[in-house]
Symmetry: C2
Subunit: 201 residues, 2 copies
């Protein structure tokens, strides 16, 4: 019983909300009571949206980004630059990068990063599928946009070694100070990377 | 399209989450992708909990607290002190007060507070129903636990005037410094109330 709430279906919804990441007991309670007072259509629309997503969303069979078609909108688009491929850990990364409007190539979603601690090896990721794509296509650039952390670096390193001697530009996203950030709050590693990567103005 | 996400059912769920209070675009996206990866049963359980709540929850016909029965668990309980009645604005207030374990009487939920600015008058609240209860029962104490703000005070004042000369103790919750709070951060009104209500130790 969530917080001593004796109305079963209310307590159950609070519990379900609490299972979502970043939603504490207070927020779960607030969301539940909001929906309790909200028009029935709004509550129904939320429930339907959850079910529809689980029913309809699959992974693109080319790049493994989320999709409602066997091949996703990016892979099937005629306006993308098919000479570039960007490797990311997650579908959310595709969305974040694409929103910038500064990259117009294709993507490949690994669905994770190599992490021995969590028991995730290369075989658990879409790395074999990436290698097949690289063999079958003639990409001029491979952008390894895995996260700038230990696992992401290891994964990028692993992939670049696996590729070896192929004639293709292999790049990583630039490291440095975040725009709008404050120099004095930047950690040492970021500052070091910012100094190493300094550019002439 | 939420943030340029071209997968319709994903974008729709993000939009539905964004309609909930306190959920911004980032959180909506995070929750959606969490559910996308979560087991189908978890997503289904959330959707079902939303629908069940909307289908099953009604208001208690005695006190207007949320309930799944015509008469709620508090009103039908044999262990409550039936000589006391506590008036609150909202069902959440019932839950908060009951969780303290320091009040064992009955409740009456007004479903709002008088607020001329928002066009909410006494006739929009469960005030007539409260008067009927007061007439038909012999309560020894009426605790007016509306919020300690303008609307809550006005509502408490209105109700106490309406009751007039009846022989019944009418009380308000104590005002003062919140426990664990810091004196220097308390606002002037709260401090004034804390001084006025000071007690001998």
């Amino acid at each position: 019983m969530a917080g001593g709430i004796s109305v079963t279906s209310v307590a159950r919804l609070i519990e379900e909300f609490e299972r979502l990441p970043g939603i504490g007991p207070r927020t779960a309670q607030r969301l539940t009571f909001f929906l309790l007072k909200a028009p029935a259509e709004q509550a129904r629309a939320l429930a339907r949206a959850v079910l529809d997503m689980k029913d309809n969303v699959i992974l693109c069979e080319v790049c493994f980004h989320i999709s409602e078609q066997p091949v996703c909108g990016i892979c099937s688009s005629e306006s993308r630059d098919r000479s570039k491929i960007c490797v990311v850990e997650d579908s959310l990364d595709v969305i974040a990068l694409d929103r910038t409007g500064s990259y117009h190539g294709l993507y490949h979603v690994l669905h994770g990063a190599i992490s021995p601690v969590d028991g995730i090896g290369p075989e658990d990721l879409k790395i074999n599928e990436l290698m097949t794509r690289l063999e079958q296509n003639n990409f001029s650039e491979l952008l390894l946009a895995t996260n700038p952390n230990l696992e992401g670096e290891a994964t990028a390193m692993y992939i670049s070694r696996l590729i070896g001697e192929r004639r293709m530009l292999i790049t990583r996203l630039a490291r440095g100070l975040p725009v709008g950030g404050d120099l004095e709050y930047a950690d040492e590693v970021t500052l070091t990377r910012a100094i190493e990567g300094r550019r002439e103005i």
